[in-house]
Amino acid sequence: MGAIARAWSRSWDSDIAYAFRHSPTAVISAMVALVCIVGAVAAPVLAPYNPFDLASLDLMDAFNPPAFMEEGSMAHPIGTDDQGRDVLSAIMYGARMSLFVGVSATAFALLLGVLLGLLAGYAGGTVDAVLMRIADVQLTFPNILIALLVDGVARAALPRDLHDQIAVYVVIFAIGISDWPRFARTVRGSAMVERNKEYVLAARVIGIGPARIMLTHVLPNVLGPLLVLATLNLGLAIISEATLSFLGVGLPQTQPSLGTLIRIGNDFLFSGEWWITVFPGVALIAMVLSVNLLGDWLRDALNPRLR
């Protein structure tokens, strides 16, 4: 018990926790992000209805407006869509999908970027030149274009039913592959600096292999910047996924994300059922904005020059 209390008080008193407590932006965005994440992850438990349970759908409930409007009811606090699905529940399940794809794509980009960055920085020479040239070329083009292209190729190369089955992983791969260069560049720069330091030389002299040097000596030095990049990238990845799904080339309709919901709702904008689009949009903004603000704050908090 004492150890936990001590660990708690140590982290409570640390610089970063102090900076966090004294930044209203950070506290508020952390709370919003927490609400989004809990609502998304625990959707099967917390959501009032299961939007995928066809038996519970009733077309008589279709196009119910939100509770605060006339004809709205508290049974569906922010209304229902064209098939009588509860919008709030659909948003929670959709956010779950968006978050899953965003986190997986970021993790994939992080892993690929760290590996290739370490390789480029430590090996140097031709390997470095080739890898960084690829990264340069890729950075010239907007991420969304690369993700679209990868997705399009997968669509053409895979048989149709196979593609539909693994659509989620195709999207994760497409977004992850478009985001790796930034991670790789950060890691590479730091690997090049550390490589020539004396402690690395000492480690090499006592016979430690390059892989272990990279992982135990070089990588810890970049964890801060990597964490910031990953946080900011999470927001971008969620937007990329939503954009792909909105364009109709992302997740299939059977596994809707927030982008898919917005796309579906778009068809009903003109007939006045605005809540089917607007509320998923608000959820998306809340999630992305809070993650971005946290990332910004983290970047400033970890930057010793700004303290």
Binding site: V137, T140, F141, P142, I144, L145, L148, L149, D151, G152, V153, R155, A156, A157, G235, I239, A242, T243, F246, L247, G248, V249, G259, I262, N266, L269, F270, G272, W274, T277, V278, G281, L284, I285, V288, L289, N292
Partner: protein, 324 residues
Amino acid sequence: MPAFVLSRILQALPVMLAVAFIAFTLFTFVGDPIATMLGQEFSVAQRDALVAALGLDQPVPVQFLRFIGNALRGEFGLSYRLSRPVSALIAERAPATLELAFCASVVALVVGLPAGVYTGLYPRSIVSRAFLTFSLVGVSLPTFLIGSLLILVFSVWLGWLPSFGRGDTVQLGWWSTGFLTASGLKALILPSITLGLFQLTLILRLVRSEMLEVMRSDYVKFARARGLRDSAIHFGHALRNTLVPVITIVGLQLGSIIAFSIVTETVFQWPGMGLLFIQSVSSADIPVMAAYLLLISAVFVTINLVVDLLYYAVDPRLRAGGGH
């Protein structure tokens, strides 16, 4: 100067070749063009004739060279989806996208530049804070959502502006323009704002930070000590020196505007290249995808090249320092 230009062009060439190779790989190895073009029933002789006509019996390097030769002449074959020449499809759609990109850039510059100057000069005023909050929201909002919300407010609720298409267009030779009719101009407003908003916030933030920095510099203090009027200091000295990075970013962003028009064109059903591309992606129409990929890359590489050269022209240090 010529050495610098030459080295930049030499750097751009491998990029284009790499992209061409990717496009070629797509074109040749993804999907089966023979099956797509012949349909269900065909004889072996027909098949062999088509293979020979398309050059698919040649070695791969020869095919690649032929692909580049065709691409240089603007020939990308037939679209699988529409059975029309890809080059004609793209030429038909290009004016819509280019006009939209132009208007979006104008919106971004005309609003972003003055707003950036103002927030840089008066960082503590309420208006500046409002602009900055707005720009943060602008960066975080996905483009398609901005488009949807604009449609909801201005087309559905207020009924002021059209929500899809280009309105009436006038044909000038092969170029169809929406600039000459009232409905064409009205149709441009919402898509231009949607597409330009991200660049607008980018320009605003960039000009602001540059202005903040320049206003602290010695030569501005000196200009003030000389007793110059505020307007002369702000515009003659400060703004002028912030323009170099602004030109660079605006130039580089032009490519992004054209690429991001994919999203805006989908939201507003704008009949441009982006909509064509997204339709091709969802129906795996490889020739159109390959052609669009090459075209966009050419645009990006050209813009990067021009910006590099502009830098060289604007920044005397590059000229003196041997061009690196």
